[in-house]
Amino acid sequence: MRTVVPVTERTEETPSTVTLRFPFEPAAAPGQFVMVWVPGADELPMSLSYTVGRSKGITVKTMGDTSARIQAIRPGDLLGIRGPYGNRFDLSARRLLVVAGGSGAAVLAPAAELARAGGAEVAVALGAVRASELLFADRFRAMGARVDVATDDGSEGAKGYVTAVVERQLRAERFDAVWTCGPEVMMRKVVDLARPRGIPVYCSLERHMKCALGMCDACAFGPYHVCVDGPVFGSDRLAAVADFGRFHRDPSGRRVPF
């Protein structure tokens, strides 16, 4: 069911990331996404970065044509919202490693908040191109998570990819599960790092989407459709999908490498 709602709050999280809050009644769980219609531009799948209560939110990277339109949205502007769609993060792990690359923190922060509220210990590996682009570092710290940072340029934390931090964390501590969202090549690396230790990894995937109803096949992913079978996939299901971290489909349905 689609509803049209006004944006109530706009927050620039980083130079390239903006959070939009809006009233949206349906119950939602971390991991789920909504289809966000920017009238006159496009409708895109976006994970909810605020899932609790009546005021939901999305946190969006402002790159690309439609994202530029999103960047220009101000409180009072109208958005079409349908959903929430898809599955959710499983909150049963007691010792959790959260690996966020770039805007991937948008979906992981609300999930980690609920895990913390349920008493889980949460360690976070947070990566970005530079210090100013680290998303939700304060939000993770505020919930009582331990945060380790990596930046490509070394302007904060370890210099280089966040997966080097993950490797260290996995060696130093025991975790029941890993949650990750970010570039798919990064997520694949995280799965590869956790597999020999027998730790399940749950990845929030992104694919081009059109219907979000499991019909149009735009988000076909091996035997799955990311919109209804995901967007959160455990490493057990990912093992059967050769495309994971390697290929996605363009809007025409053509398989293209990452």
Binding site: V4, W37, C211, A218, P223, R249, P251, R255
Partner: protein, 320 residues
Amino acid sequence: MADLAVRLGGIPLRNPLLLASGIWGESGDSLAGAWAAGAGGVITKSIGSESRRGYPNPTVETYDRWGLLNAMGLPNPGIEEYPREIAAARAQGATVIGSVFGSDAGEFARLARRIATTGVVAVELNLSCPHAEGYGTEVGSDPADVERIVRAVTSEVTLPVIAKITPNTSDPAGLAAAAERGGAAAVSAINTLRGLAIDIRLRRPVLAHGLGGLSGAAIKPVGLACVWQIFERVKVPVIGVGGISSAEDVLEYVMAGARAVEIGTAVTFDGIGVFGRIARDLSGRLDELGFARLEDAVGTAHPARGRPAGAPAGNGPTEA
């Protein structure tokens, strides 16, 4: 258990339930998934000469469980790229029917010739997409065009050719007759009905393209009427399409004259398990109704075709 196997214009099908074109048809794994879920055959997304992104979103609007309006805009990877997906589906055992769309007879013939080399069992011609400029309904609404296009294809390929007919015209049966004259082995009816949704708060059409096509339960009576009239008009087998989500829906279409059916929107509302569920229910319903084979039930609601004694006589549908 009643026998669900049918022959459709020479094509043997394990059951009459086909995955409709446009649903789950972009990837070979998805086609194979529909086959594994129990479809009797799977029809590819309509494939054109070049890769096409389709229209921007929003591309769909839903109405509870009774309808779905869409304007995808014929997205497809193009005829050079797509055969790999057909190969993937066939490698997993699927019976695949290739759907193509063109802007004229020559383009249809070229596409059909190419897709016929990929191991598909038949070619379906999309003469009926209601919202693509220069394609679909725009080339499939005039019987003379339909006959010319179908003839161009049947003179190029030896595989059975299925013409998918539009309901967005005054005489769908006349289009079916034209397809038969052109050499079609079967006709499928109907494609979606042209439709529109408006968001009153935004004061604009919901779909980015504006006009779309309506599918789902809402259009079943329209599809049934078209199949009924086509059955009375042509000798080739008819594939019924439109709003099917149960064995009872299938039997309505079969008794109206369909030898097979296509299922699409029900996958959206019920999931891909709809194929297995309908196949199981269909056998049971045929047993109860006293049909040993599904084929025995084809057209039986028509007055001349074995309507049982005591049933209301002599009043088949008439046009008001």
